[in-house]
Symmetry: T
Subunit: 161 residues, 12 copies
């Protein structure tokens, strides 16, 4: 028995529901590792990165809420329980303990680059299925690409550059 009925047809719903559920896990995981770095960072750039990380966390939390409520609005029960986040989180994570500031910057560039790549695939996937959900994923991508640029810009000179 469905508790919340959908306004989307079945197949469109499956595609959209998957895209939103995966995005939810990415964002909840990102908010946890963002806070982890916020608390454990050390080094001369501490304060600057410490503050910047809270903007990542704030973005991740706010979009997680929008994405999960969008899933619910379509009749798909979102899953953001601790065990789900831990089991399905697919972005680069972080080791235990104190983290040097330069390592944090590199970690964020990598995590955000991975998240963006995954989002761009879901933008394609939802084009036909649900333009409304696609629109939400587009605005999330814009925000994450902006934050990725800032970490990339301060990641310079890069080791590979």
């Amino acid at each position: 028995m469905t508790m919340v009925r959908s306004t989307l047809p079945e197949s469109a719903l499956r595609v959209t529901g998957d895209a939103l559920q995966e995005t939810l896990v990415d964002l909840l995981g990102l908010s946890l590792i963002g806070k982890q770095a916020h608390w454990n960072i050390v080094g001369p750039r501490f304060r600057s990165i410490h503050l910047q990380l809270d903007e990542v966390v704030s973005t991740a939390r706010s979009y997680a809420d929008q994405v999960a409520e969008r899933a619910a609005a379509l009749g798909v029960a979102p899953d953001g329980r601790p065990e789900t986040v831990a089991a399905r989180f697919a972005l680069p994570g972080t080791k235990e303990g104190w983290l040097r500031d330069n390592d944090v910057v590199r970690l964020l560039v990598e995590a955000l680059t991975t998240a963006i790549g995954r989002l761009r695939e879901r933008i394609e996937a939802t084009e036909e299925a649900d333009k409304v959900s696609q629109d939400l994923l587009i605005s999330l991508t814009a925000e994450l690409e902006k934050q990725r640029w800032m970490f990339e810009a301060e990641n310079w000179p890069r080791e590979d550059a």
Copy 2:
């Protein structure tokens, strides 16, 4: 090599660090299941409980930040990574999918009751070790007991009553 030196002696530090780390996991887990219920609740009391759950989440997130920064301030690296939260979370959790409103109320009473019981033990444990951390745990307990009362009050008539 310790990156952040402590202002506490070694044994006091161990007791306090454990109390804070366990509290951090309780709070991060509570914020995740609070949001899970916020998104998945159904039933005539939807709106009222939906809003009340966001106050629980907001409390849990704000105190998680204070507790983790308190640990860091004492020279203990806090651990709030997804895998840590999933592995060590010890409060009652929730099943997947839609949740009926009465069940959500009961879940919150149980989760908060368990959290409070664990906190009262840590308040005892930190009495000697660090009064400053104890004070933080006391004010967190006051807040969670207030929120527990509200769910308890609307959990009436109880099945066992």
Copy 3:
């Protein structure tokens, strides 16, 4: 003689103008029945639904303004006069007099579901004609689907479920 010249070619303008004009009537009508229910609701869920209805009205009014100004910006005079709203309003309406709370919830689920179905057709229709107007309809749909979910969630257990 055209008073405000359009930045769109003729045929695109006709499609877009129709989509916007119909949406305007849906929203003005929705704001009126939303207020009607806000004032006439009775039953134990009075306060919760009473407040929630004001959010529907606020959304409807704000988007009515954006939709009408978008029409004007394209050179189409919008029509939101009382006689037009009454004659062309196509969502489920409400009877005169006091309304029971459960009936109000069901009414809103139905009215919002109808409005969303009509909007999804207009999103298709404007894809070629005017992406800018389409974008406005998409964000309106997202908002109405969110509000529909909330009424649907508190409409449970449904009579047909």
Copy 4:
């Protein structure tokens, strides 16, 4: 069966209920034609009148809410449905399409003058029946007379002057 019981005796209730219901229709209609003019006005005074009209709409909406809730508070179910507003609206209305700025000013002077005349009769009628409702109609009249003066002042030189 009465759902909301009244604190007024029967005959006083009928007089007061009629006065409030008619005022509600005047105000809802005024808010719709105010917005209609806000969107369709053209001419060199566009911006100035466009902004002023939103103040009329804001006043009309705010008092419509107070008047309807006053009726409900007395045990009379208010009726503000689209079909009621269209059928019973008795103020001068407006034609379809773009409106020249000078015509809008004249329209507002006339609509507000008519509304005020009707209100002054209801102030007399409610003197004995319900001083509390009378007080609300007095403060509404003060506000509409102020707005009427402003349109009258910028309606000068008048054609008949």
Copy 5:
């Protein structure tokens, strides 16, 4: 010796002073039983009524202040001491201990109905004596009738209906 001289003649002063003093006691008592119910309510409607009661208390406190300062402004020393409130409070009170949500709603309907009846008599009494004080009593009555309607609306279905 009079400490604050009055701007009213003697007999008008006596009538007005009595009306204000009695209203002050009604309001202070109402604020106390409103808070009592705010703290002791249990049942599934807990959160909704708990919040609504704070609006009653806030209204009662704010008008108590205006009424007492109005008395002082006329040269009558207002009396709001604990013993006076307890001795002269004439609205329905509440029993000790926890209160079920439905009982709280019924209690508020009764207390507010009684208060309104008493106020309407004082509005008559002050018509000749002091129109300025009458105006204050009228606006207080409007506010209490609005709050009474809300409890009445959610008191439905009534036992006697």
Copy 6:
């Protein structure tokens, strides 16, 4: 030729217009002597009275604006020019130069008492002519009586008491 047409009949207009014009002069004059005292007061109660006087000025300015706009709204051109205020001001004024704090308190008691006496006559006069203007004068009187009480209360012990 009348520039702004009235919504009142001729004789009611004359009575109301006079009441408003006289009140306007009282308030503009009061705002000037209030500021004069605000600037020239000396003595140990300087700061307390200095601040209190600004509340009188603020009240006087705000009501002067409402009263003048009310006159204009009725089609009576208000007159608040410097020469008019000086020629027709009928409240007790103040001498040139520094003013002792106790003298300022007495001055304000007298000026406000006179203003209130004049207002109470105009409230009677406008009862038939225009209830809307009467309502404005009533609320102004309430405010001035409150401010008069405060100066009276701190004027104690009085020389004549």
Copy 7:
């Protein structure tokens, strides 16, 4: 049958419940006599003390709410009804009618001194029973001692000094 279950063992609960209930009565009584003095004070220090008394009332009301909700959170139904406050209020009260400013200052010093003495005993009593409630009483004491100092400081020169 207990409606709200406690997180405290029975004996600790009794000690804590008594401390909170007595504090609640002290604070509600204090808020009533604070307002009584706020309205009835006369003398040259009127304005200064009049404003200061509202800070006492505001503190008393805010802590009364926290104390009563703390009791409820522990499963003890708080009692703040008019008859309870009048019967159990144990601080120095005030006579009827106008009050001279110096007498008000002395009254507040005495009432606050008594309240603080009673609170210090309850801080001792709850040390073992409930550190969380003790923490609330400590912060209340700090606030009342600050307010007492201010009245004491302006009570100088004292008759006994």
Copy 8:
């Protein structure tokens, strides 16, 4: 006997005191005629000029306060009584009754031009006497010149141009 002693030598004080006293009268008079025009203006530019005049009044009142407090700060008792303002006001005034919008614009250009000319003389006069007061007159001149420009700019095409 001087009540407030000066921090300036006698001759500098006389020059500065005169400059401030004359400026005070200019500003109080300007605030009165600004309001007079605000209330009595008619014509198609009503709303635009009506709002702009309130900015002139607000500037005049705010600087009148600064100028008068500056005089008091130097030990010169400022004089802003109604009779003083009427007797010494030297800017162009306005006739009684309704004012056409174009005439209001011209009046303001003239009044502000005169005021600025007088201020520039006082800036010269206070250069030696008191640089602190000079600074206040300079910032006032900047503000009035800005407001004069705006009326001048909308006074175009001018009759003499």
Copy 9:
């Protein structure tokens, strides 16, 4: 060597980068000529257009920032230097010196119409290349079309109409 790496493939990057760079120049130029008109406008509509122009400038500046940061986020260095803006600005400009109000309105209609036409081409161009950038251009177009409508509406009667 690339300092900021892109999340887009090479050819999509070139198309998107060009669209953003050209939009940046349009917006910076628009902000400069908007301010130029804001300062140099004369005529009876001065105040109304003067204020409206600041909204254009504010929009242009805010979107210039978003567009440039979007380019940087994609790894394209934006170019908004004075010499670049002057050399590549392709909207209608304005002559030196004072500008009559009607001319300003016409200028803005033309400048905004040109800007919108160019934006609609870039919306097409970026459809395939980068939906995220396209979304930003769409919302900018919506805003400029709204502002163009307002100037068009007050440009009536048009010389060619």
Copy 10:
């Protein structure tokens, strides 16, 4: 080696640097004795003076920051260390312990008079050296003279008057 290079020539720099450094010490000292009096004052005027002193402290702190940053901006390292403030503070100080209210008023008049005299000399000294710093000293003097007037006005009747 100079760390921050100056934009002023050497001799102008010396004069200006000295003026700023001395002003910094005056202001830091003033903020400390202002707080000292704020905490230690006793007597019937306690509350009024207690609040007024915080305005002095707030002014002193805000200008100290501006003055020190002005020095740094010119390439002069400001010195506000505890030992410097204690050694070079040249305004009248205060004794240890409680302070009677009248004595506090006198102390502030004296301290502010001395500070103003010293500032007037520095205004002269910086006229040639740096008009920008002079401007800061002028606005500080205006503020201190205003605060001195207020204490002087409430210092009346003076012992020597």
Copy 11:
């Protein structure tokens, strides 16, 4: 034909007009290169300098507006068109493309130093011509010198130091 007449004599006007026009170009150019650096900066100090540059841009824009409106107020049409800014901008500019953080800091020190040197000459030039404009240039210089110090302070150790 002059559209806006001046309050200054001819020769003073020419000197002042030139000073204001040149300052306008400096500020508009500075706002453009400030934004250019804000967008193109890379390196570990990215975030810190990125934020600081927005304060420079905000200052430059705000003062450009004041300076241009000051020119207009004096009857001189200000010129801030793109071609004018590009042709007459005389501060050090920046190259195209990404900019390293250390280079940005050096660029800002140089640009601000040049701007300040030019302003100090104009402060001299306007001393006789117009003290009101001079005052504006003085406060602008104070602000730019403060911002220059901050970049200078973080430019250390300098290559030439």
Copy 12:
């Protein structure tokens, strides 16, 4: 003769008074050296540390006020005069003149570590004497340990690490 009577017994008062007085000096000194570093810091981390130091100063000032008012509330006159702060300040101070950014970070770690050590002793000392004062010292310690951690975290790599 004691001016403010204490609510504590003599010996408890002495212990508590000493703890508060010493803390007051620590905090006032810390606020002065924090500002000194805020003004004199140079180096590439200027902006980041410059801002962080203002948070230390703000904390120090706010707690100094609470600590001093707590002393006064207990009947102990607090001493924060310049000479007292200079003579008794026991934290590490700073040399005159410009300060390199790394040195500032090290200085703050040391000063805060010292302050925290002293506070922990006073927390022990006041356990018996006055729990209310102890509570204030505990929350101050929590705040300073948080700020110390931040400086410690950015002090890495340490010379001794």
